[in-house]
Amino acid sequence: MGRDICTLDNVYANNLGMLTKLAHVTIPDLYQDTFFTGLFADDTLVTKNKKTPSKKDVRFTQLAYYSEIPVGGLVARLVPKKQNELSLKGIQIEFLGVLPNYRYKTIGSKLLEFVEEKCSECHQHNVFVYVPAMDSSAKQWFLAHGFEQHGDTLNNFIKNVSGGEQDAILLKKHIS
């Protein structure tokens, strides 16, 4: 029908449940529920690329649909200033996931493209992400998409829902 079978769309307060579900299924035990409910806490439409006047973080969210079914999601945060020694400024991917059965269909790449676009729109030059050091498939995926490792392994950086801790590595991609 001439349409791409895979499309992206914004997240709204009404289908936030989809994003939450996707995050819990693709990366279990990592995200607190408040992480998602906070996205729409005071109705700031985070997908708009305007800088909100409040001090709140600016976040970008997307849902990826495959044949009208939501199968992938994205949450990214604008980090305009360097927060500490180890971190970078730019856009941080906080969640990017696609249901296992829908991988290798360029859905993830589309979501990443979206982030990169936002990155240039916001005049930033870095897209970066923390992935668990153990998770080689995630690392492989980002490396294959032009990311490079930045700095050393960060010990016990990622905390999951039940309080456990994991080592992480920081991956970044430079956008000119």
Partner: protein, 855 residues
């Protein structure tokens, strides 16, 4: 609307003095100009002088009604009527009263006063039109015809009057006259039809053809005539489908099958998705019984209309050859699964139902094979929908384990598809796990909060799980909750009967549950009330209130449904004149037909069934109380007097106050109507009635009984109702009809027969003559099946007799007996055992229902 226009009574000076009369006419004018307050003021000056001026009293009543002071209005009108002998008042007065009665929906009275106005010399011809409308509304078509005619005679210049006369004649079976009326007007109007009148004209033309067709019957010459007329009007008729369908029917009746088939082919060309046309085409081609020719026909049609459903689907309903059927099913179902059509199963479900032994096994094999070829990652879309299909397939076959397996695969694969949650919940519901089912749906609902469909489904499932608060909370997300805490009022306003009935049933189940708990708490082991701890007594009180509340609310909700239906019936009123003005007689007749089966519609019936359980129980309780009252009442009074020390009185008072407070708080969340329109939020008045059977008849059963078709009656309900009002002969009639329909070895027949038999024994309170009549009838028709000699014997084992004699629908019969086990002297325990041992034939959820709420 038209109501106000008719309200122009003309004055005739018959009142006492000239001045008074003038003042009254002035007041009337003010009423017509909608200046009700001024009109009242003027009337007051007349009434001050002459308190019994009937005309003024009546008009003041109408004025008051118009400013919505309905109570005062009623008293003025009643006062006026009291002063009138029969209907001998001035025509204006009668007219005013007629309008008032119409406003208050007392149509019969209204007709009486309108007629009186005319009889007493009113020259206002408009009254005839209002009269005709009201007569049509109450179904008095004979007199409606008279009124229509009178009105038509006075105003020949309007098409509406000709149309309405023709319709009235048609309804009264005066078909030829109706045709003449329409033809006469056609002649008058010839050449003068403007563009804006063309639609009306076309409707009237085809309506005339309708009447001609009805009048023709099977007479060939007349049918030929109808056909000729149809051809004549063809260029002017807009409803081409209606016209072609009529033409084809005429050809069929005239046995010109070839011509008929051509018309059906034209119809198929116009709408190739209408199954009906294909069926009729087969008949007109005379190949209905020949599968080979049919196959050829559909093969051709499929080429003509490759995107249409019927030519592909219909062959699946008749092909016998296994191999061929297999291939056709494959061609039909697999492309849909491949495309990921969610409704694939729904599309083939008619085949599952009609060809249960042949189609399901074939499709099971086909789809399983197809699934084996699929890979979840390679072809995710076909993969999930095929699993979805198989889950529905196994659900249809009642294989719940497999159904769950497949839906779980789909859910795991794509947990973001809402449909999967719905199906999963449905399977759980069939397994009787209503709570889990509701939770699953809630999980699905969270995914997409703006999906109204899953919102409604979730609400329904929570109601099924008796979780009313949660259900209301979710439903309220989509309702207008202006000044109320939840959406209950809005759901009543928008007549959401599905919700109200489900809620009523949930309240009813809660009522039964609570009652059981209460009975346990107050069972004989706690005989000595003084030694009870405070806790239990509070618990008892709490339970008592809940039992009372749930019962009342169940009744209140059931009552909301007939209210809607009465509104529907009343809504017809405007159309008796509107359809005539707009020239839509065919739609009007359809509406009348619909109105005549209104009270047999499924939702009405469901509410009636639900309410009947409560009413019957109340009636039986009343009887029991009456029987026990002699000894019980004296005891209770004694108890009360002993206990009423002052401290206890104080405590009781305090408790009553607390109760009232609680009621007030709860009333907010259960109120169904605005406060000023409802003085019985909890339905307490409804359940405290002294005459449950009369109420049931007036609110539910009467209308149903009048309208329901003889072959669609619910014999069990009829029997139970008539049994309680003592009409044993009618019970026998129901029994007889049941036997005719299901045979006399049917379990329901058996149980009803036993109840009726036992009712005729000498110790019951039924009329002795009736008993004799029933015994005689039973002897005549069923002396071989029923042990008529054992009627009065208390030692006869009725249960054993039932088990040995009756077969079909056994469990329903047993449950029926269970309700009447005291009347028929069957021991409680063995009967219960028999029911439980028979339960295994039912689905798990039905088993639960019986165990929880019927035993």
């Amino acid at each position: 609307m038209s109501r106000k226009r008719g309200a122009k009574p003309k004055a005739i000076g018959k009142t006492n003095s000239k001045k008074e009369n003038d003042q009254f006419l002035e007041a009337l004018k003010l009423y017509e100009g909608k200046q009700y307050k001024k009109s009242i003021k003027l009337l007051d000056t007349i009434l001050k002088k002459d308190g019994s001026h009937v005309d003024s009293l009546a008009l003041k009543g109408l004025d008051l009604y118009s400013v919505s002071e309905k109570v005062d209005a009623a008293s003025y009108v009643a006062n006026a009527i009291r002063k009138i002998e029969g209907t001998s008042a001035s025509p204006i007065c009668c007219h005013v009263l007629g309008i008032y009665m119409r406003n208050t929906k007392e149509y019969k009275e209204s007709i009486r006063w309108f007629t009186a106005a005319l009889n007493n010399g009113s020259t206002n011809k408009q009254i005839y039109r209002d009269l005709a409308t009201l007569q049509s509304q109450i179904g008095d078509f004979k007199n409606a015809l008279i009124s229509r005619k009178k009105y038509w005679e006075s105003f020949l210049g309007y098409r509406a009057n000709w149309t309405s006369l023709a319709v009235a004649q048609d309804i009264n079976g005066e078909r030829q006259q109706a045709i003449n009326t329409l033809s006469q007007f056609e002649k008058l109007a010839e050449g003068k039809i403007s563009d804006s009148e063309k639609y009306e004209h076309n409707e009237c033309l085809i309506y005339k053809n309708d009447i001609m067709y009805k009048a023709a019957g099977d007479n060939k010459d007349k049918l030929q005539n109808v056909l000729k007329h149809l051809n004549d009007i063809e260029p002017y008729v807009f409803d081409k489908f209606g016209l072609l369908e009529r033409k084809a029917t005429l050809y069929m009746k005239l046995a010109q099958l070839k011509d008929a088939s051509i018309v059906y082919r034209t119809l198929i060309k116009r709408n190739p998705d209408n199954f009906k046309y294909y069926k009729l085409l087969e008949i007109s081609l005379g190949i209905h019984g020949d599968d080979k020719l049919r196959k050829a026909l559909y093969g051709k049609l499929e080429q003509f209309y490759p995107r249409c459903e019927p030519p592909k689907f219909i062959p699946l309903t008749f092909i016998q050859n296994e191999g061929e059927l297999d291939k056709k099913l494959r061609d039909y179902a697999l492309p849909q699964l491949k495309r990921g059509v969610p409704a694939t199963f729904s599309n083939v479900k008619p085949l599952y139902q009609r060809r249960t032994s042949r189609v399901p096994p074939l499709l099971e094999k086909i789809v399983l094979e197809y699934l084996a070829e699929l890979d979840g990652t390679q072809d995710p879309i076909p993969y999930i929908w095929t699993n979805y299909y198989l889950s529905q397939h196994y659900l249809f076959l009642n294989d719940f384990t497999k159904a769950q397996e497949y839906i779980d695969v789909a859910l795991k694969h794509t947990p973001t598809q809402v449909e999967f949650y719905i199906l999963k919940a449905r399977i759980l519901k069939h397994l009787g796990l209503v709570d889990t089912a509701a939770e699953i749906l809630e999980e699905g609902r969270q995914l997409d909060l703006q999906d109204r469909f899953i919102n409604c489904k979730t609400v329904k499932y929570f109601l099924r799980a008796n979780n009313i608060d949660k259900a209301v909370e979710i439903a309220s997300l989509f309702t207008k909750n202006d000044d109320s805490v939840n959406g209950i009022k809005d759901l009543h306003l928008v007549e959401a009967s599905w919700f109200i009935v489900e809620q009523a049933e949930a309240y009813y189940r809660l009522y039964l549950e609570r009652k059981k708990q209460l009975d346990d708490l107050t069972s004989p082991k706690n005989e000595v009330p003084n030694e009870e701890s405070e806790g239990t007594s509070n618990e008892v009180k709490d339970n008592q209130w809940l039992v009372h509340k749930y019962k009342g609310l169940a009744m209140k909700r059931f009552h909301a449904i007939p209210k809607f239906y009465k509104q529907f019936e009343d809504d017809q009123l405007d159309f008796h004149s509107y359809c005539m003005r707009k020239g839509t007689p065919r739609a009007y007749l359809e509406m009348l037909a619909w109105g005549q089966t209104l009270y047999t519609k499924p939702m009405y019936f469901r509410a009636m069934k639900g309410a009947s359980k409560l009413y019957f129980q109340m009636h039986d309780d009343n009887l029991k109380r009456k029987a026990d009252s002699v000894d019980e009442s004296s005891k209770e009074i004694g108890n009360n007097e002993q206990n009423s020390s002052s401290s206890q009185k104080k405590k009781a008072k305090k408790e009553a106050a607390a109760m009232n407070k609680r009621k007030e708080a709860e009333a907010k969340s259960v109120a169904a109507y605005p406060t000023d329109q409802d003085d019985d939020v909890f339905g307490e008045k409804l359940i405290e009635t002294a005459t449950p059977m009369e109420d049931f008849e007036a609110e539910f059963y009467g209308n149903y009984s009048k309208q329901v078709r003889e072959d669609e009656r619910d014999y069990v309900l009829d029997f139970e109702f008539n049994y309680r009002v003592g009409k044993l002969a009618l019970c026998f009639a129901s029994l007889n009809k049941l036997a005719k329909r299901f045979g006399s070895t049917n379990g329901l027949f058996g149980s009803m027969a036993i109840v009726l038999l036992r009712a005729t024994r000498s110790s019951t309170l039924f009329d002795p003559i009736l008993k004799k009549v029933v015994i005689k009838s039973l002897e005549k028709d069923y002396s071989e099946t029923l042990p008529l000699n054992e009627i009065s014997s208390d030692s006869f084992d009725w249960l054993n007799f039932y088990q040995e004699t009756f077969h079909g629908k056994k469990i329903r019969g047993l449950l029926f007996l269970y309700q009447y086990h005291e009347d028929v002297a069957i021991e409680h325990a063995p009967l219960k055992e028999a029911i439980i041992s028979d339960l295994s034939h039912l689905e798990p959820h039905a088993q639960n229902e019986v165990l929880q709420y019927q035993l």
